[in-house]
């Protein structure tokens, strides 16, 4: 499988006017080779894709299961290897990943290898990653199933008096006991905190109060692939405003799921969602309508008014409209979905009525 993916990158080199591509992004390397380093944000491996080969570079702390690979040595760092291979393959222009390489890394390459030119590219591998194949979709489906099971188990344990932190901890525990990685740190907010979009329960000792809303936004991984889901709960009875807003927001979310499709533009769907929000008298929300989900939990394409490109078969999105009433409460409903040729499959199946616990 990864050989096919590398072959596609090799095919695209000419269009990008480069003789080779130096892949530095953790998820792109994982996608192309199956190899992963310990810390995604540190560049502890690089993959050089030339027309004829794709060589992995890393250090001796790792034992790659991908071939061919070369270790950096005290004498020959990445630049030494690049020099040698470019000479051998007669490469003059090497594409780098502009969204991943830092300015310092770029300057080091240019300075140490003055005979080569390094061209910033964007999205060469991501272009491919955006379109999930059936194997990837199945992994995301499994990740969503696990997330559904987790929500179902955890929602039964939520009680008045528990801290948000404890609920988040129980979610982590549920996942870890099953050998599951989390796609991101669980967000559990209650009462007024539900209006805080990027809420971190660990910074608070807030306890769940009677009749207060609870927002849970979680994602588990299955074989490196992510899921992302948000649901609302209430222990006791919601206020009329909460109940009414929820019904409206759910209507908006379901309308967006009906609207989104292969061939529509990202902007069109974002505009549609914000228009639905407005029509329903809900406040506009300060985040995108949705984002791609795959090896990374936030990846292109983003369902935003900034992007006029088309939605395509094989795109996987988390769709997440929200309504936030500052200082009062907030709500978000989020599903992971896959765009198929003629339909949309919703992969997260946990019920969407405002669940009273």
């Amino acid at each position: 499988m990864s050989r096919d993916r590398i072959a596609k990158v090799q095919k695209s080199l000419v269009a990008h006017k480069i003789g080779a591509l130096l892949v530095s992004d953790f998820y792109n390397i994982l996608y192309l080779t199956g190899f992963k380093t310990s810390v995604p944000e540190e560049h502890e491996a690089f993959l050089l894709v030339t027309k004829k080969e794709a060589v992995l570079f890393t250090d001796r702390r790792y034992k790659p299961n991908y071939k061919p690979f070369l270790f950096y040595s005290r004498e020959k760092r990445l630049t030494g290897h690049l020099e040698e291979i470019s000479k051998k393959s007669k490469v003059k222009k090497i594409g780098i990943e502009g969204d991943s390489l830092t300015v310092s890394e770029y300057q080091t390459l240019s300075k140490k290898l003055p005979k080569l030119s390094f061209i910033a590219t964007v999205g060469v591998v991501m272009e491919q990653r955006q379109i999930k194949d059936s194997g990837e979709i199945e992994k995301i489906r499994q990740a969503c199933k696990l997330t559904d099971q987790c929500l179902s188990a955890i929602s039964k344990t939520i009680k008045v008096g528990q801290t948000e932190k404890e609920v988040a901890f129980n979610i982590e525990q549920w996942a870890k006991k099953r050998g599951c990685d989390l796609a991101f740190s669980p967000q559990v907010a209650s009462g007024r905190n539900t209006a805080v979009i990027h809420y971190e329960p660990k910074d608070s000792n807030r306890r769940i109060q009677k009749n207060s809303l609870i927002l849970i936004d979680i994602g588990l991984k299955y074989k490196d692939y992510c899921s992302d889901v948000s649901r609302m709960f209430v222990v006791g009875t919601p206020t009329k405003k909460q109940q009414d807003s929820y019904v409206k927001l759910l209507q908006v979310e379901e309308n967006v799921l009906k609207k989104i499709a292969n061939g529509k533009s990202l902007k069109e769907v974002d505009d549609f969602c914000r228009n639905e929000i407005k029509k329903n008298g809900l406040p506009d929300f300060f985040h995108a309508t949705g984002h791609g989900v795959g090896l990374d939990v936030h990846e292109p394409p983003v369902v935003s008014f900034r992007d006029e490109r088309m939605i395509r078969e094989g795109n996987v999105f988390a769709i997440e409209p929200g309504a936030y009433f500052d200082g009062e409460f907030g709500m978000r409903i989020e599903d992971t979905i896959v765009i198929l040729k003629n339909k949309v499959e919703v992969l997260t199946k946990f019920p969407k009525k405002l669940l009273q616990l």
Copy 2:
């Protein structure tokens, strides 16, 4: 406190020949303002430090407790704000953080703001962060104390037949129950896996066997500050080779802790350590002798032959010599230490004899 830190950055602008510094690194922003975004590797906030002010930019999903701050809007993105402030403050040259900003981000700034020049800088804030003040040292001391307590509690629970994963899970659980963040995912390796330097127990179902070595490398956080420690255990009896190697490695580590001091060079200490390893007939190890520890668990300065700079009062290091016998077993002993004026304080105090469980 953060005002003093910002003042130091402002003072250094002239030396760097810039009118302002655009801080993008998550930990640098946290260090200067106390503000943090959700995902360290995503640039969801920027701090512009001019001679007279330091303005934080972020999006409306956040509620900064730092002032002054400005939100990006649909109309005015970061570049719009930068343009306005540079005009007002008569700034022409803005330093960017070369180790943090990506090539694409740099290109966007240069393209959208052609009247300004963006200069890549390295370490402007990190220079300051490397020297910990007494408040920071106290937080790291507390983080180390928690890590000692965790090792003490967990080592009592390790049993033959347990999976490495379960031990790692118990460590996480211990920390989370106390509201502690982990500085990194716990490494628990047993038997042959101890020879794998970046070992991830979650990818294995290996169970702890009788008479096998166990390597535990963990770090907990206290108020955002990290600790980092590695200890070796054995359930049962070690082999003679294991016992002998351990005694030698411990001697090496303790000699390094005696050698390292204010005013010595980083290279000198790394060379000394490798020489001690060699003298003791142990195999060379493929990682640095040590690294800085602070808000980030791996930060400059690195105790490596590549760096000839001086060790200074207020540096905090994790010192971690190792001995890895490929395919057989490996061992590492690691302590977090602080360099004081005339002495070194070892902050991790968990006993260092090869603990038989």
